[in-house]
Symmetry: D2
Subunit: 183 residues, 4 copies
C-alpha cells in the first residue's frame, strides 16, 4: 500500500504514497527515515540475536521482518491466544510487538557493549486490531548517548490491505556495565 524508498547519503528522499481508493479518504502518515549511521557494523546480528532471546516474541508468534539502522519491522499473525474479549488482538499484545520494534530500532544505533531498556511508552489505539496479520514498524526519531526516542506504527493486514491501527511513542535507555543487561 505504500513504499518508502530509503536512499542513503543523498540529498532528496522521495516517498510514494499510493492511496487506496477504497480507503475513503483516511489519513496516512509516512515516516521518512533519513538514514542513521550505526555505531556498530554488526547491528543487525545483535538485534537478531537479542530478538531470539525474547520468550515473549515466540509467544506472540512474531518474527523480524526488517532491520535497518534506526528502523525495525516486526510481523505476527492473528492468534486466538493473543485476543481480548471481542476477538481483536489485545492492546497489550499489539503494544508488546510495537515496543520491541521501537526498542530494537533504538538498539540498532547503540554501541556494541550497550543493552537497551524501555523507560516508557505511550500507545494510541486507533482502530480495533482486526486482521489476518500485523506489521509493526519502529523508527528512531532522536538517538542519544543515554536516551533515545522512537516512534511506532502498527498496521493490520487483511487480504493485502493495510490499515493503521496504533501509534506509539517510546523512550529507550542505553545501559552499559550493568550485569545481566547486554542486549
Amino acid at each position: 500500500m505504500f513504499s518508502v524508498a530509503l536512499a542513503r547519503g543523498i540529498i532528496d528522499v522521495y516517498v510514494n504514497v499510493n492511496v487506496n481508493p477504497r480507503s475513503g479518504g483516511n489519513a496516512k502518515f509516512n515516516m521518512t527515515l533519513i538514514p542513521f549511521e550505526p555505531k556498530d557494523a554488526a547491528y543487525a546480528e545483535r538485534v537478531r540475536a537479542s530478538f531470539e532471546l525474547q520468550g515473549a516474541m515466540k509467544t506472540l508468534g512474531a518474527s523480524l521482518a526488517g532491520v535497518e539502522p534506526g528502523q525495525v519491522v516486526i510481523e505476527l499473525p492473528w492468534a486466538q491466544s493473543l485476543t481480548q474479549q471481542h476477538g481483536f488482538l489485545h492492546a497489550g499484545m499489539v503494544a508488546a510487538a510495537l515496543d520491541s520494534a521501537c526498542g530494537y530500532a533504538a538498539f540498532s544505533l547503540m554501541p556494541a557493549d550497550a543493552g537497551v531498556l524501555t523507560i516508557e511508552y505511550k500507545i494510541n489505539l486507533l482502530a480495533p486490531a482486526q486482521g489476518q496479520r500485523f506489521r509493526m514498524v519502529g523508527q528512531v526519531v532522536k538517538p542519544g548517548r543515554t536516551v533515545t526516542v522512537a516512534e511506532g506504527r502498527a498496521y493490520a493486514i487483511t487480504d493485502g490491505r493495510e490499515k493503521l491501527i496504533a501509534t506509539m511513542s517510546a523512550t529507550l535507555m542505553a545501559v552499559t556495565g550493568r550485569e545481566g543487561i547486554r542486549n
Copy 2:
C-alpha cells in the same frame, strides 16, 4: 507490605503504610479509592465473564484477584514465555496485564449494555520486571459517560516482598450499540 482500608460511605479513610525497613527509603505511592457506585449490580460477574474471553490473559497465565467497583486486581506468575531478552517480564506483557486491570476497573462502573475499549495508555517502567509473581492494580480516577480515566500500578513479588515496577495511566471508552463489542 501495605494495606488499604476501604470504607464505604463514611467520612474518613485511613491508610496505613508499613514501610519495609529493608526497602531503603524508596517511595511508595498509595492509591486510596473513595468508593464508586456501580451502575450495574452485576458488575463483578460481567468483569469475570469478559475476562474469561481474553485469550491473551490465558496466555499470560493471569487470574482475577480482586474486583471492586472501580478497582480490579490481576495477578500472574513469572514465565519464560513472557520474557524479554534479559529474562525479565517483557514490558509489553506487564502492560497487557496492567491495561486489562485498568480496562476492567473502568468496565466495572459502566452500564450493563456497554463494552469497553482502550483509547490509549502510557506506561512508565520503573524497575526491571524481576520477581516470582506480579500483581497489577487498576483503579478508576475519573469515571465518565463516554470516557473514563484509570491508573495502574504493577508490583513484582519476591519472597513475599512487593516492589513497584510500573505505573500506567489509561483512557478507556464505553461503547454501546456497536456489533461485536458487548463487554
Copy 3:
C-alpha cells in the same frame, strides 16, 4: 528546510526532504497528510475565531500560520516570559502551542456545532527549545465522531534552519450540546 506538497485527490504524494549537510545525520520525520474532507466548509473561519478567544495564545505571542483540513500550524517567537531556568522555552509553553495546533487540527474536521476538548496528550522533548522562532505543526492521524487522535511536531528555527525539538500525540474529544463549549 523541507516542503510538503499536498495534492488532493491524486494518487501520489511526493515529499522532498533537503537534508541539511550540517545537521550531522540527524533523523527527520515527515508527516504526509492525505487530505481529509472537512464536515464544515467554514472550518478555517471557525478555527481562527476560536483561536482569537484563547488568552493563552496571546500570552505566547502565537499566531496561526496555516489552517488546512486536519492540519494546523502555529508559530511564535522566543520570549523571556516563556522560559524555564536555562533560558530555553519552557516545556509547558512548547506543549501549550503544540496542544493548540493538535486541537485545532482535530477541530477543523468537526461539524459546525461541535466544540473540542483535549482528553490527554503526551509530549517528548527531544532537544532544548532554543531558537529565534518556533513552529508547531498539528495533524490528525485518525478522525472520529467522538474521539480524534492527532500528532504534533515542534521545530525551533534559528537563522532559517529548523530543528525538531518535540513530538506530541494527543487525544481530542468533540463535544456537542454542552453549555459554554461551542468551539
Copy 4:
C-alpha cells in the same frame, strides 16, 4: 479538603481524607509520600533559586507553595491571559505548572551540581480547568541517578473546595557537566 501528614523516619503514615459530602462520590486519589533523603541539604534553596529564573512561572503568576524532598507544590490564580477558548485554563498552562512541579520534585533529590531536564510527560485532563485558584502537586515515584519518574495532580479550587482536574506522569533527567544547565 484533605491533608497529608508527612512523617519522616517513622513507620506509619496516616492520611486523612475528608470526603466532601457534596462531591457526589467522586474518586479521590492520594499520593502518600514515604520520605526521601535529599542528596543536597540545600535542596529547597536550589529549587527556589531555579524557580525564580523561570520566566514562564512569572507569566503564569505561579508561586512555590511547598518544597519537600521529592515533593513540590505550585499554586496560581485563574487569569484571562492563561485561558483557552471557553475561558478555562488552557491545558498547556495547567501542564506548564504541573511539569514544573514534577520537575522540581525530581530536582529536589538530585545532587548539588545537577541540572534537570524534562524528557517527556503525559497529562490527562479530567475536568475543565475552572476555578479561582489552582494547586499543582508534583511527587517523585522513583528517583534515579540519571532518570527520575514523577507524578502530578492538578486541583482547581473554588470557594475553598478542591477538585482534581488533571493527572501527569513525567520522566526527568539529571544533567551534569553540560554548559548552561546547572539547575
